[in-house]
């Protein structure tokens, strides 16, 4: 698979404050990639530099083979961006905003109407074409921004915290739209988020903290490496289970015959449950999440 984004030894300093500290990574073409990390970790700085609106301090950043600093015009043509904050013109209608965008990105005139229709249909706003942007709700505006980011069919779509401040249902919908178009157009998605659960859909994630990449892998591999399943068991044979866990060296805690057991793998969990199935009154299995990965790696809860 070819690399669409190549970042080498990228550093960005504001005065003597290092926002991004010598990071390197690649993103495969057609993949969904997420930058995870707390606010102020350097996510937006990296995105803004890749989007050509911020100058790097040192290092090299390339998108589709073009240097982001030397070849700005070519890079700009290949990317679409949904910024953290609204960048719509609220005095224009939804359709006018998208048409303006098509003019900026030189979308063939005969395709403009069709593409606007496609993009708005994707985010479910086809009926709102003629509405003034300022009359829309926050979630709808976000969807317009996403539609606008897609309308020129970019090779890479950057999404900087696309769902911050939205309700859970809208958040879920927005991810549906994004995934649909990503598959349809084989687009590369580069996103940042501090909602760990949203990163689960990604092919690869990079965890960034204090300007450094502290982990770079697939979500499932990260979870396997850094988390264990938690099995909560309520039993009628507390003494027997306790003895068994001690003998096998399995970490656990116990209160009133309710055991919280750390299990290394699914096989181990199944074995434990089948062995004690006669005395188990109730059980729950918690899979490790990316949030657990984050805590395990950085030693702290994600700061929101």
């Amino acid at each position: 698979m070819s690399k669409i984004i190549e970042v080498r030894n990228f550093t960005k300093a504001y005065g003597d404050q290092l926002a991004v500290d010598n990071i390197s990574f690649d993103v495969d073409e057609g993949s969904v990639f997420a930058f995870l990390g707390p606010n102020g970790a350097g996510k937006t700085t990296t995105i803004n530099t890749l989007c050509t609106i911020l100058e790097k301090t040192s290092g090299s950043l390339k998108i589709a083979g073009h240097d982001v600093n030397a070849d700005k015009a070519k890079v700009r043509r290949d990317i679409g961006i949904v910024f953290q904050e609204s960048t719509l013109d609220s005095n224009l209608t939804v359709e006018e905003n998208l048409a303006l965008h098509c003019d900026f990105y030189n979308v063939p005139k005969e395709e403009v109407r069709e593409r606007i229709g496609f993009a708005l249909d994707l985010v479910g706003l086809l009926d709102w074409q003629k509405a003034m942007v300022k009359s829309l709700s926050g979630g709808m505006k976000r969807r317009v921004e996403i539609a606008r980011g897609l309308v020129h069919f970019p090779k890479v779509l950057f999404l900087d915290e696309p769902t911050t401040g939205l309700d859970p249902q809208t958040r879920a919908n927005i991810w549906d739209y994004i995934c649909t178009v990503q598959k349809q157009k084989n687009m590369t998605i580069f996103m940042t988020t501090h909602y760990m659960d949203e990163a689960e859909i990604c092919d690869k994630v990079a965890i960034i903290d204090h300007g450094k990449i502290v982990a770079f892998d697939t979500p499932s591999h990260l979870k396997r490496m850094h988390t264990s399943d938690i099995v909560k068991i309520k039993t009628s044979d507390g003494i027997g289970l306790q003895e068994y866990l001690r003998k096998n060296g399995i970490a656990f805690s116990e209160k009133d015959n309710v055991f919280i057991v750390q299990s290394g793998s699914i096989t181990a969990t199944l074995e434990l449950l089948s062995r004690w199935k006669d005395s188990i009154i109730d059980f729950e299995v918690h899979k490790g999440t990316l949030n657990d990965v984050f805590i395990a790696i950085t030693g702290k809860e994600i700061r929101k």
């Binding site: 989007c51 609106i53 043509r77 990317i79 961006i81 719509l88 900026f104 030189n106």
Partner: protein, 275 residues
Amino acid sequence: MRAIKAILLRNLTAFSRDKMRFFFTLFMSGFFLFIFSFVMKAAATGIAAPMNYLISGIIIMTVFQSALNNSMNIIEDVASGFMKEIMVAPIARWQISLGQIASATVISVLQGMLIVIIGLFIGLKLDLFHFIMMGVVMVVVGVTFASIGLYLATLSKNSSTFQVMISVIAMPLTFLSGAYIPTTVLPGFLRPVIYLNPLTYTTSAFRSIALEMDGMTEAAMLHNGTAFDIGGFIVTPHIALTIVVLIGILFFSLCVQRFNRADFSQVKVFHRRHR
């Protein structure tokens, strides 16, 4: 070309939808027209066609202010976030500047023309040739001051103090340009300021057309304040217009240069207001 046209149309659409702003700019010009044409008439003694003299000053100040304010509107685009959409688009930076300047010029010339038309009803006398000439000079002045406004806007770090700053600077420059009060009646110690003020040359070039002074002698032009004797060098309205054009070219190049390196992400916005 397509991007320039798109920016131009977008700004004109925004302007046409902002009815209050349009009303207030018109109101301001109308107010000045009323005050100066009736109250200040006495100050223009000794000048042939006093109404042409006064109204031409008001017209050109309207064009100046409108061009400056409308090109500075990008501050509001920065505040609303829309500027980022423009900055990441694959448009050459000079095209962004040109689109912005073109729209500010169109709006300011339209406003100027409106004052000309109102002026015709209250005593402004013009033939078609001079009307067209006025239009041409309005475009030149519009482009120049839109460039200056855009350049200043790219320098701003803070939208609300910036707007106050511009009003504070624009006010004395307006009054020291001869547009409302003839420069010949202003005290001599203000001369250096008057000669450094780009508005002085703007007013001079425009007024000479309004007064139909095509064949006038230098001495007569010096007398009515459309030509200036700066240390023996006579600045005629033609030279004045050239100065305005040069200032325009200078600031347009500065704008493009600024846009190439502009980082609008640092602009602080405390509140938005209408101008």
